[in-house]
Symmetry: C2
Subunit: 319 residues, 2 copies
């Protein structure tokens, strides 16, 4: 009988979910709206029905082994989502408890999406067999998941792994967290937009970006321009890589990982991000660690990576 895990990725707009086997093969996936269900009980019911529909379409004997959920501000220990600014539900939402009502006999695990990406990397991706590694997720912000001794570091309150909020410049850019100079104000989709605008201010060269407003500019446009050889876009990536490389050199002194994986939209710039990041990481690294730490693109591919990561929580938990 084929064993499958359910992976659920809760986003502010939509929730994506799918059935995944132990090798990371996806057997059907679907989506429901998140924001149309301010009533959390209704949302869970809709999600349950969506999962039932997926299961019905499986035309071979199967067994569900567990449910892994990735979501913002998730508390792994309590099974809750707590005060997530981008979700329609206020306060503390008991996600695991509510899911357990529909799936009482299998484990249900929740964590934030960066931690899910790290477990996904370990179960299906480039970190298979590794015991010490870091995953950096580059989206609107910068998330991270640290694995040491083969286990994800949740910390005593489940909120470990916020590398995006390490301070890289105490008088630097204002961050959404209320402080200044957090790494994610430089290294993220938003961060590189800010960097492009800083470069437009510092330089006089013409650029296609001089015709675009801040609110119209996207990280994808910057990536596309870099791939087309645009000097300002390449410089923006160089600057992003410098700050990421320096921050990773510092992070390495704490957990001394075998590898660091870059996951998410910005990582699609490929060498334009990887090369400067690697260069500055090595340049700023303590000699002990130099030329030892692999910097790699995530081994989780495609639009389903978030579902894959979430489903890996279930496989990791039954191991």
């Amino acid at each position: 009988m084929k064993k499958l895990a359910i992976g659920i990725d809760i986003g502010g707009t939509n929730t994506a979910f799918g059935l995944v086997d132990q090798e990371g093969e996806m057997y059907g996936e679907s989506i429901i709206s998140t924001k149309q269900f301010p009533d959390f009980d209704q949302y869970i019911e809709e999600l349950y029905m969506g999962i039932q529909n997926l299961v019905k379409q499986i035309d071979f004997p199967m067994e569900l082994i567990g449910i892994g959920i990735g979501g913002p501000n998730a508390n792994y220990y309590n099974g809750t989502i707590e005060n997530a600014a981008n979700l329609v539900w206020q306060g503390v939402v008991p996600v695991v408890e509510k899911m357990k009502r529909f799936f009482p006999s299998i484990p249900v695990i929740i964590t934030n999406d960066a931690n899910a990406a790290a477990i996904g990397e370990m179960v299906y991706g480039g970190a298979k067999g590794m015991k010490d590694f870091i995953v950096i997720t580059l989206g609107t912000g910068l998330g991270s998941g640290f694995v040491a001794n083969g286990k994800l570091i949740y910390g005593h309150d489940s909120f470990a792994g916020e590398l995006g909020h390490v301070i890289v410049n105490r008088t630097g850019r204002v961050c959404g967290c209320g402080r200044k100079g957090c790494l994610e104000t430089y290294v993220s989709a938003t961060g590189i937009k800010r960097t492009v605008f800083k470069l437009l201010a510092d330089h006089l060269e013409d650029s296609e970006f001089r015709y675009i407003s801040y609110n119209d500019l996207t990280a994808e446009m910057i990536t596309k321009a870099a791939l087309n050889g645009d000097p300002l876009a390449i410089e923006a990536y160089e600057y992003t890589g410098m700050l990421l490389g320096q921050a990773l050199a510092d992070a390495v002194t704490i957990t001394s990982p075998e590898a660091i994986f870059l996951f998410g939209g910005l990582a699609k710039a490929g060498k334009y991000l990887l090369e400067p990041t690697r260069k500055y990481m090595e340049m700023h690294m303590l000699a002990n660690y130099r030329n030892k730490v692999k910097l790699l693109p995530s081994g989780l591919h495609g639009k389903n990576a978030a579902i894959l990561g979430a489903s890996a929580l279930a496989w990791d938990c039954i191991d």
Copy 2:
């Protein structure tokens, strides 16, 4: 039959060792010279005889359960000391292998002294029952041991936990590691000496330190002056605490510990170090973590703390 572990603290000048029970009670301790034995085999023989002498003095039935060793540049995975600048032995020294010849039937574990201090804190000290905490050792340099999920983070190469070499100022003080602005150039016995000299340069106020050369000044003198209310010494501690607090606020984002323990000479300044460190740590912390992380003096007391820490490796390993 009483069970005892052997704890060995290898320093550049001397090696201290003792017999310790599971509660951290010491049953005899002794010392041999390290630097008088450039021949490592002779050193190990001398150490073995020293241990035999201690064991002979025990006047009740006892069983040795293991040997824990703390030493500079120790590789936990390989059981070696590697290229330690302050030791008489060159290159890679197979400490565990050589000790095993004399103690073939009990576990022998080696790690660096900061990691040993962390395990000691967990086995005997203030971190009993904690699964996520950090120990900072403040000596000539700044060492650190990170525990997550109840296990010390060694990293893939056993050299994790070098918080002393996180960069706090990229254009800052020259560090012995060849880079600039490492945390330990500010926060350590040497670091606070450098800070006193910077303050003497910046200000004009008279101070007892204006009569003392750099080479004659010690951290103990600065601590004593602070305890006597000397404004410059207190300012030096305030500055040290600011940089330590800021660095700890960043470290917390990675492992989210329940507590951080300060161990070693500089920590003896008590409130003069703890208070500014706590103040700046909270001030610079991401809101998620504020008022959650305990900052505490080490629970390992007295001059035997290094032996205690080392012996804890043996207890932790048989648990």
